[in-house]
Structures are given as C-alpha cells and as structure tokens.
Symmetry: C2
C-alpha cells in the first residue's frame, strides 16, 4: 500500500509574528489523515513572492502527490500567493474569465442583499482573478476569492484562502472529494491509552516491543502535564485498506501494551476511540 502524500504551505506574516494561532494547519492535517492520506511537512512562510516561490519549489522537489497552500488569495497588496505560484512554476499570470465571473456574481449578490452599494469591480477585485496559466478557479461558497487548482507534472497544487471559514468550506466541498479519490479505499484509525503510575523512560522499552511485534501500528507517548506526575497518553494509530483491519491491528497492539504496562505495575485506561 502506498500512501498518498501531501505538503501544506501556510502563508502569512501573522503566523510568523505569533499574532495568529495556526488552526488551519491542524484542521487540514486532521482531515487529510482521516481521508487516509499522509501530511509529510507543513511549512509556514511570510507574505513574500520569493518566499512563497522558494517554499513551493522545495516542496515540488520532494515530490508529494498534493501541495495545499493557505492564505494570500485576497484583494490586498500582501496577498501574493498566486504571484508566488506563478514564479515557482514559471507561468504567466492572466485574468481568467471564469474566476472573474465568480467574483462578479458574488458582488452582485452582496449588492442585492443590501450589503454593498454598487458592484463595480476595482483593481483589487480583478487581482483575485489573475491566475497562473493552466490554473482553474474553485468556487468559494463562503467568501469572494476563488481557490485555485493547478497541475504541475504529477503534482496537484491547490491554493486555499486563509480565512478559516472559507478554507474549510472550499476544502469540504471541492478538495476532500479529490483527495478521497486519490487515496482510494484507505482508513486511518487511532486510539489512546491513559497510563498512570509509570514514568516515560520505564514505558519506552514496552512501546518498542509492541511496535516491533505490530509493524503497522505507530505508537507515540505524550507526557500529560508535568513529567513527574507519572501520567502519559499513549497514542496508537494505523492506516489500512479496510476499517475492520485497521481496528483489529490497533486493538491487538492495545491489548499487548496494556498487559505489559500492568505487569510492570502501571495503571491503564482507554481514552477514546475514533475512526
């Protein structure tokens, strides 16, 4: 089974000065994982054409199936994602009629609903319709700026807006179906075990043993609160072609791990099971 791989590139100075918590990356990573794909890297860069272009070129060299960017699609001067993509892929930017129509339609609607006085398109509006050659706009069900999809050899580059409600709306409506198709029949399954009464260094060799015996299951220990209170969360996860198989694999590892920990005097308690 080969996993379909993704890189995420988040664009915005607000992320680099700590003004904004990057909830977009976490939301996307969670969805991507649930769809059975694997996020290999997340890169966060500022509002600079060169930085965007460099980050995209570097990601392309690592040859993932998809590259998803967030941010920088709006009307202001610092929305530079499309210029950055055009530079990285060496394509020209040109006003795309299909994108312009999406924007015009949105503004007509805003005027009809009395939210705006007139729907004349100004240069900042038109900017959102200037796409790299070969790119297609994706309808934005929440805001104005269309998302963009563009093929580069075998890699699909998808540019989503940075406003979380718009990013999520477009992802669920137009991106998730593409990813699901690319991933095929694959399920991610995860569960957690709450461990008390044992310190992380004592649990470490038990995890090693269970991972050795269960090569498809990944186990990671997370100290909860302060390290000295002997409280760990052990997170078990796997990806498989069928849900039943994924659950069976994780279940087997979970039982073995629980038994080993209890033999050493630790206490275990299942935390949650999600599919």
């Amino acid at each position: 089974m080969t996993t379909t791989s993704i890189e995420i590139i988040c664009i915005g100075n607000e992320l680099l000065i700590g003004k904004t918590l990057n909830t977009n990356a976490r939301w996307l990573a969670k969805r991507i994982t649930a769809l059975g794909l694997k996020t290999h890297r997340i890169t966060i860069i500022g509002d600079s054409i060169e930085e965007i272009s460099n980050a995209l070129r570097e990601a392309i060299q690592r040859n993932p199936h998809f590259i998803i960017t967030t941010g920088g699609l709006g009307p202001t001067f610092d929305d530079k994602t499309l210029e950055g993509i055009a530079m990285a892929l060496e394509r020209k930017l040109a006003i795309r009629d299909q994108a312009l129509k999406m924007i015009e339609e949105k503004y007509r609607q805003y005027v009809e609903e009395g939210r705006m006085e007139r729907a004349e398109l100004t240069p900042p509006h038109i900017k959102m319709a200037r796409l790299p050659e070969g790119a297609k706009p994706i309808f934005n069900p929440v805001g104005t700026a269309p998302a963009v999809i563009i093929k580069h050899d075998d890699i699909t580059v998808i540019a989503l807006p940075g406003v979380p409600s718009e990013m999520k709306g477009i992802f669920d409506e137009s991106v998730a179906p593409l990813l699901k198709e690319a991933a095929g029949e694959v399920t991610f399954f995860e569960t957690s075990l709450d461990v008390t009464g044992m310190m992380e260094p004592a649990v470490a060799p038990l995890i090693d043993r269970v991972m050795h015996d269960n090569p498809y299951v990944y186990i990671k220990s997370h100290p909860k609160g302060e390290e000295t209170v002997s409280h760990l969360e052990l997170h078990l996860s796997t990806t498989a072609e069928e849900t039943d198989l994924a659950k069976k694999r994780v279940g087997k590892a979970l039982i073995q791990l629980s038994e080993l920990i209890q033999e050493k005097g630790g206490k275990v308690k299942p935390v949650k099971a999600k599919s």
Copy 2:
C-alpha cells in the same frame, strides 16, 4: 538596522496528523517578535532522523542567526532530534557527563520527593544525555530532558523539548537572554484598527498609500468573521531601535489610515496597543 533572524523547526508526528495544535510555534514566534528578532520560517516535520536532518540542512542554507527546534528530546524511541541534528551537522553522538548529571540529579530529586521508587538510570534515561559533539546541555527547570545548544559556523542551533511547560521554562530562563543580546536594542510595536462599513477591496488601496508614505510600518488586513459583514482588523507593526520611535512611526501611520478610511465613509476604532 539588520534584524536578527530565526527559523523554527517543530518535530512530531502528532502535529502532522492534526492530533496536537501547534501552540509551541505560536508562543515562540510571539516571544521572538517581542524580543526584536524576526521568525523567517516555521517548518513542521515528523519523527524521522532523515526528515529532521533534511529540514535542518535546508534551514542552515538559508543562513539564519538562530535555529530553534521543538520536540523529540525525550526518552522514547521516537525522540530523534539529537540524532537528526548529529546527522545534519555530521557530528558523532556521545554521552555527555554534564547532561547525565542533570538527568541523575532530577531523578534523585523525584525519588526524594517519593514520586519514584529508585533512581537507577536505564538506557532510555541515558539516551537523553547522548548529545552531538560540541553541543552543550541546557538545564530543564520543569522536566528531565535537558535542552541542547550547539554552534555551527555563525548559526546557533537550540533544541527545546516539545512539552509546552518545559519548552517555555527553558526558553524564558536560558534562551530569551541569548536572543535579546543578539538582537540588541530593538523594540517591536504593534497596534490594530477595527474597521466597519468598508469591504477589503475598498480598503486595499488606502493601505497601499499609507505603507508607501510610512516605509517602516507593515500593515495587514484581516477579515473578521465572514467577508460580507464589512468588518476588518487592520494590524500595524514596526521594529525600531527605540520604543518611542516605534510608537511614533506606528502612530503616524495609524492617524493617516484612520483619516483616509473615514473620508471614504468607513468607521474606525482602535483595538489594542501592545509594546
């Protein structure tokens, strides 16, 4: 004025599957900015020696003053940061007495406080003291695993734990003073303006004009909630050698921007002022 630049590398599969929200990156970026330095890029990768080594090598090529990593310093098999750093810098790993003493001392303390039965060091404990050649351990006031500092040519690489309380404790105690010294007398100042009654495309040319007239001030617009409700936050920021100068620069731009927006029929309200 040259700004002192930083890259952050966050290590952990839990960040790539969306299990954990990356609050560490945001916290660090905010502190770094407040200390007058600039975060150029944040990279998030999984628990893989090759990935860590690659990300570090790429960061080194961009030649920042500091590279700060978070995560992967603990006792379990998937704590691979020190191995990744050793691979990237082509240095051997060796048990460092100074680090081993820090870990022993912590465990002795835990036993004295009755939190552990005995303080025998097992291989998982000793693993935390295996540092790349030339690296120095940094005392961890909160947990066990020491942080690590290592010089590579003109770049200082600092590896911090991923547990937020440990990361913050070490940063404030040992890293912030280093960064402050490197940054020199530099202040970051930011403020925000709440704008209603104008859409982002209409405000965009006004921002362009104010940024043109105030070359040291960076202004970014953030749509609040849905784009159609005509509610924006405009964030103004600058970095200067003196707090008064920074405040004066931002204040001048703020007044000009407020006047231009009001002339066009928008309403403005200052949000907050932080230094």
